[in-house]
Symmetry: C2
Subunit: 457 residues, 2 copies
Amino acid sequence: MFKGVSTMTCLDGKFDVVIVGGGAGGYTAALTVKKLYPDISVLLVRKDSYALIPCAIPYLCATIEACNRNLLPDAPLKKAGVEILIDEVVDIDLTNKLVKTAEGREIGYGKLILATGSSPVVPRSIKGTDLEGVYTVVKSFKAMERLQDAVRKAERITIVGGGFIGVEFADDLANLKKKITIVELLPHCLMLNFDEEFAVEAEDELRAKGVDVITNARVESIVGDGKVEAVRLADGREIPSDVVIMAVGARPNSELAKKAGLKIGERGAIVVDEYMRTSNPDVLAVGDCAEKRSFFTGKPVNLMLASIACYEARVAGINLFDIRIPKPIRGVVGIFLTYINGKAFGGLTESMARREGFQVESSVVKVPNRHPGILPGARETKLKLVFSKQSGLLLGAEASGGEDVAELVNFLGLAIQNRMNAKEISILQYGTQPFLTPSPVGYPPVVAALNTVKFEQ
Amino acid sequence: MFKGVSTMTCLDGKFDVVIVGGGAGGYTAALTVKKLYPDISVLLVRKDSYALIPCAIPYLCATIEACNRNLLPDAPLKKAGVEILIDEVVDIDLTNKLVKTAEGREIGYGKLILATGSSPVVPRSIKGTDLEGVYTVVKSFKAMERLQDAVRKAERITIVGGGFIGVEFADDLANLKKKITIVELLPHCLMLNFDEEFAVEAEDELRAKGVDVITNARVESIVGDGKVEAVRLADGREIPSDVVIMAVGARPNSELAKKAGLKIGERGAIVVDEYMRTSNPDVLAVGDCAEKRSFFTGKPVNLMLASIACYEARVAGINLFDIRIPKPIRGVVGIFLTYINGKAFGGLTESMARREGFQVESSVVKVPNRHPGILPGARETKLKLVFSKQSGLLLGAEASGGEDVAELVNFLGLAIQNRMNAKEISILQYGTQPFLTPSPVGYPPVVAALNTVKFEQ
């Protein structure tokens, strides 16, 4: 019945669950639903024939080289019995519980999961973004192939925006021996997610790799005659550029939901409760299109991470028909990881803690990630823990160092989710091994925690 | 006043805190006490002029080469104001609260912390262990220098015992291009700490590195004329050997405590409560010499790990005079990590869970530790989670793979300490990054947890 679907079994055009979007959130929602409810029918509708692994998009041009080496594979979906339809949902009829597609299909649903993702923002304040050679980072196979082509032909590539996507693109493109420039509005790259000391360290790594990092710089316009020639900054400087990659942020794809009458939040994302249920009881939303609230304050926050999308997809899938696993915590913690010039960085919104008015106490520990530190391959782990001053609750963690930093940050994210305080963390149990971890004497989380513990005598 | 002590300030021979033993436990106890109680006097008494980092002793012969590259540095102790005395405590007078040393000193204490460690076991059932060329693994600078010398002159080295120390020695010695044989009594190396599938994988790595691994083999005797010539097995096989390293286990050094009248447990370790207090209110014990109880059963267990010693030292130091941080959990989890032929292994006593009579449900997940898996440096992460069948509580975790496995195992150790169950773990939040972690879709802990979750419909 449906073009492009090879394993379709429910021919009546109605599915127990319809998922809109095939990115990390939709994909994980589909797998989760079929794992827990193997007998129900699940349809995943997505626009593209191929779904890219979103997190690795910055690495497509140099490291990965071919887009088809970076695909979310269909095989696990098909093996689980998920039907896949390549089409675009253009309307939701909440009353009759069906979706309408660009190709004219009408598909009924029992439960609908929206995983429509996000789209790059192009600031109107910057002129010339419509010139040939200006690209945004769209999670689409064809768009990314076009960007790859352009990058290969270019000599001078300028990235506007020094957030995660911008710096990861810069790190990857620097492997191509081209002139790479990154322009950031704030005093440092990554400053929305890291404290200055870590942001500066990340910038140093970019510069060590040959990237020209320009900060405190506002892009006024992109100039050229039909095709981009340069990026012009507000202070008059011009950066000659053959290709410009705009990486200044993203906004939730919530138009479809809005048109259907679902409630949209102040930041433009679909309003959901802790179980990802929208204002309509049979419609859920997960991932970038869904509003998130901070674990720390309960306020809406602008966090768009594939790891959060997958987490939300599991929450939605598990609790789709009734609440089977009450959430032990509310809101999203926001665990960031990035990797620049072979150095790992991870963080948990410590800067946000300060901005949100927490009184904090922090401690920085620097130790080799092997013991003794002379073992081959040893690198320095720098860890900063941030605690609520009076309660001692862990609020944030930032780390830089070798690849072990990633799971170390996840370890601390878990401590936050378990509402642990400095005193509890100071007497945690952990394992160590000379080639794998810092010394048991100096294991960074417990040492940093103990550094902040004070007792009234 | 005391020979060998450069920074001694308390000349009256009485200290607020005396610590016996300068290994990981004593060292960490000293630092913890001085951090929390900077104004009190702390004396650390140890036998050796230099204290080795215990965990890295297996790597002294090939990787580290010189024992003085593997020292617990005195500088942090001195900076913290800890006095160090090189001497041996030979008697404790509990009534008068003083210790007597081999050099005839009598030193008073307010609180005494015993961190006397453990000594290798030499089974009496094996004849010939007194031959020249037979070594045990003693945490002493001079003893290890002697072993290094012997290993350098040897061509054929046989290790008796395939536990952590045995396999790590084998892994290190294999770098020397000598004939290395490891003999293990059980069906596989590391079987006390890993399930068969992981133990076999570890053995395969040893063999890939050229180590001859002989299992299911009982050593009957070590033969030679004054000097070792061969290791003879019960089945008659002989392994020609120039050096034999006995690594068949260790027993707590509790003679000093026993002689003083402190209570000793059934396994020969000093009996302590959850705050490391012995049967005498002013004497504490930490590390290998102190009895441990299982987090899972409360039964005494034979766990000797530097990471546990450091944890216990912090518990003792923090709660030395009164209980300031009540322990959120009781007993030791036992988080093992090892590294063989460049592959990391970690575990949390899953086999023990079965032996102890838990009904378990487990799931094994294998994923690349990068996403997409074609990224350079990607390796397979294999993770097995073990849950209590009815309650869903996490009981164990075993993993093998790249270096990221170590903190992944610590992450799961933290989940155990927080008494998390499969359902909670299945909706955990975590961070991912293409170069640093598995995919967010397939993050092993949550996927393995979800695999075991069942709902009654």
